[in-house]
């Protein structure tokens, strides 16, 4: 027995801090992101003696995003940790982002001692209440005996059914209390996710009769990795596949039946298929307002089969449809089995494939000032087939979703639900740590990057060579676009008067950096970025007048689409 274990009477015990580290190791945690603090000292002391790698971030929010990026790539829980009070409040944004995109993040926060809890002690904040609405579940441990089972439960809950973040608030005295081996060995279980496939026959009948079926896939398909099965089903049904932002990358976008991202800034042909199908098979999606536009007009002519792992999503936004509760992979395979007998003509499929070809405009803009679409085009062309692209939020995100083609082992990671500016860069760092052999590129905007630029220090310190492709237009571009389109170009608080020199900024942190102002230099810069062995910033100075189009105005249907320069004639009715 080592010095870390002690005996009380005849019972073997260890300190709470030691137990917490051991439990994390039992859960196969090999990396965690965080910042220490007063109440976490004993935990970090034990962490120092373990082989779990700790990445010191510069702001707790980014610890959350890194754990999130790590989880989305590795498909296993990402762990982040912050101290009590301000550490916990800073972490909230990171956890909320993971919650909205159903990512399994384990967030640990230190807390003041149970004896002074609720007495406004130094660095006390009610982290338990703060985290409650932005987590799948959360715990506050006030009895050391419950520490082991709580940590085990947290990991189980995060990865059972619909994934989601779980938060544990641990007061400092719990870390110093004695935990017995018996408590450590306690087994836990959580309720199995409900399944309800009673509507399967109705769904099969609807799909069998469908003349113009369309499949819409959401983030649930990314998590359950059901992409290949969806494509099998699509080919059987001869149905086009449209994706939500969260599902981008789950199905290969170079397949003729895959129409790409639908919704507010989606491809027009994807929205056309969505609005003109007679049966919509929606899998793992929650019908977000960014996808449906005006909810009352969405799918008026359509019969909807809604598949989701979370029973509370069925009927939440789109009501009165055939609902199937189960994970995407299982249900899709059940549908495939049920639909073996279907024979249909290929009219709808052939028409959609033709329309899909027509709805492709040339965005290889050879003009200066540099157009942002050109950069995404070149990234799509040059990046390897296993590259991971993350995005910030705003115009950069929509250009990336519209023009970047995701196929093969490529991944697309973005803050879809919460829309957190500053997500992409730390998520890229987390993603690179989960899959170091892949090129990881963050498509960033200057507004978003300035929220998290301090993480260059983390990337350099930990030797994480991510590539930041900054679409630098000197504006909060998306807000500017809305002011232009809906508020008579009355610009306020959207132009940055005093942005830093981003090249010097990155270099100050020890990263590499290049400024690119001409379209002819884009490809070469990206190639240099791919080869770089240190974090690198590509500062693309782009045309600030460029808007993200096409766009369906908020609260309206796709009939009111603002088309921009891509004048696709549309498919008629």
């Amino acid at each position: 027995m080592g010095p870390l274990r002690a005996m009380i009477g005849s019972v073997r015990t260890m300190k709470g801090a030691r137990a917490a580290v051991e439990l994390l190791k039992q859960q196969n945690v090999d990396i965690m992101f965080g910042i220490p603090g007063g109440v976490l000292l004993s935990f970090y002391n034990e962490l120092a003696q373990s082989d779990i790698r700790h990445v010191l971030v510069r702001h707790e929010q980014c610890a959350g995003h890194m754990a999130d990026g790590y989880a989305r790539v590795s498909k296993k829980p990402g762990v982040c940790i912050a101290t009590s009070g301000p550490g916990a409040t800073n972490l909230v944004t990171g956890v909320a982002t993971a919650f909205m995109d159903s990512s399994p993040v384990i967030a640990l926060t230190g807390q003041v001692a149970t004896g002074v809890l609720g007495n406004d002690a130094f660095q006390e904040a009610d982290a338990f209440s703060l985290m409650m609405p932005v987590t799948k579940h959360n715990f506050r441990i006030t009895d050391p005996a419950l520490l082991p089972e709580t940590i085990k439960k947290a990991f189980l809950i995060a990865t059972t059914g619909r994934y989601g973040p779980v938060h544990i608030d641990i007061p400092v005295d719990i870390f110093n209390a004695d935990i017995t081996d018996e408590q450590m060995a306690k087994e836990v279980k959580v309720p199995k996710p409900k399944k309800n496939l009673a509507g399967l026959l109705d769904a099969v009948k609807l799909l069998e009769k469908a003349e113009r079926p369309t499949i819409m896939v959401g983030g649930g398909v990314t998590w359950s990795r059901a992409g290949p099965d969806i494509m099998r089903l699509a080919e059987m049904l001869m149905a086009p596949v449209v994706t939500t932002l969260m599902a981008k990358g789950s199905v290969p976008e170079n397949h003729p039946l895959v129409l790409g991202v639908c919704g507010m800034h989606g491809r027009q042909v994807a929205n056309y298929a969505l609005n003109n199908c007679d049966v919509l098979l929606a899998i793992g999606t929650r019908f977000s307002d960014r996808v449906t536009g005006k909810l009352s007009e969405f799918g008026m002519k359509t019969k909807v089969v809604h598949v989701d792992i979370d029973s509370s999503e069925i009927g939440k936004n789109v009501k009165g449809r055939v609902g199937l509760v189960g994970d995407a992979w299982t249900v899709v395979n059940a549908l495939i089995a049920g639909l073996q007998m279907r024979t249909k003509t290929a009219t709808w499929r052939d028409r959609i494939i033709q329309l899909n070809k027509e709805c492709t405009c040339d965005y290889n803009f050879k003009s200066d000032p540099l157009k942002p679409q050109k950069i995404v085009f070149e990234l799509s062309r040059i990046l390897p087939d296993d590259a991971i692209v993350t995005t910030e939020v705003g115009q950069n995100q929509m250009w990336a979703s519209h023009f970047f083609k995701c196929y093969g082992k490529r991944m697309f990671i973005t803050s879809g639900g919460l829309g957190t500016m500053g997500f992409g860069f730390p998520a890229a760092i987390g993603a690179k740590m989960a899959r170091p052999e892949s090129v990881v590129a963050d498509i960033a905007g200057d507004g978003s990057l300035q929220m998290v630029s301090h993480e260059f220090a983390t990337a350099v310190e930990n030797d994480v060579p991510v590539m930041v492709c900054l679409l630098n237009n000197g504006w909060l571009g998306m807000v500017k676009q809305w002011q232009k389109l809906f508020y008579e170009s009355r610009y306020i608080a959207t132009k940055f008067g005093g942005s830093p020199d981003f090249v010097k900024l990155a270099e100050a942190y020890g990263a590499d950096a290049i400024r690119v102002e001409r379209h002819s230099e884009v490809a070469e810069a990206i190639k240099r970025g791919i080869k770089s062995e240190v974090p690198i910033l590509l500062d693309f100075v782009v045309d600030p007048e460029e808007d993200v189009l096409p766009m369906n105005p908020p609260g309206k249907s796709s009939a009111d689409c603002i088309k921009g320069r891509c004048q696709w004639k549309g498919g008629g009715i």
């Binding site: 338990f128 209440s129 409650m132 609405p133 579940h137 506050r140 809950i157 029973s311 069925i314 009927g315």
Partner: protein, 118 residues
Amino acid sequence: MMMLLVYDQPGVMQRVMGEFNRKRINVETIVVGKCEMPERARIVLAIEDKEKATGVLEHLRALHEVIEADLVDHSRHEAYALVQTGEGLCRVTGSVEEVDSIVRKSKPEKYVQTMNAI
């Protein structure tokens, strides 16, 4: 009317009521207490809008501290009121309509009323 069986521990009410808050549902009456099972509590509450109640039900069932959540038929229509008049405190029980009319008729100085939740 809705009945929930939950774990009897701090924070549960906050989590349950958080769902009603998020969905902007006003709870008419709520009664909470220990029940026949150890370490469990029952929450009985009444909501006017049945459609909203049905909508929130699945969200409540998804909470890890909620063991059961169901709508219950309130055919018995029982209500309770505690009324303070010039003559002192007075208890009123009966159907919702009866209790409501007695409270209105007696014009009390102060009163509390619980509907559909006994």
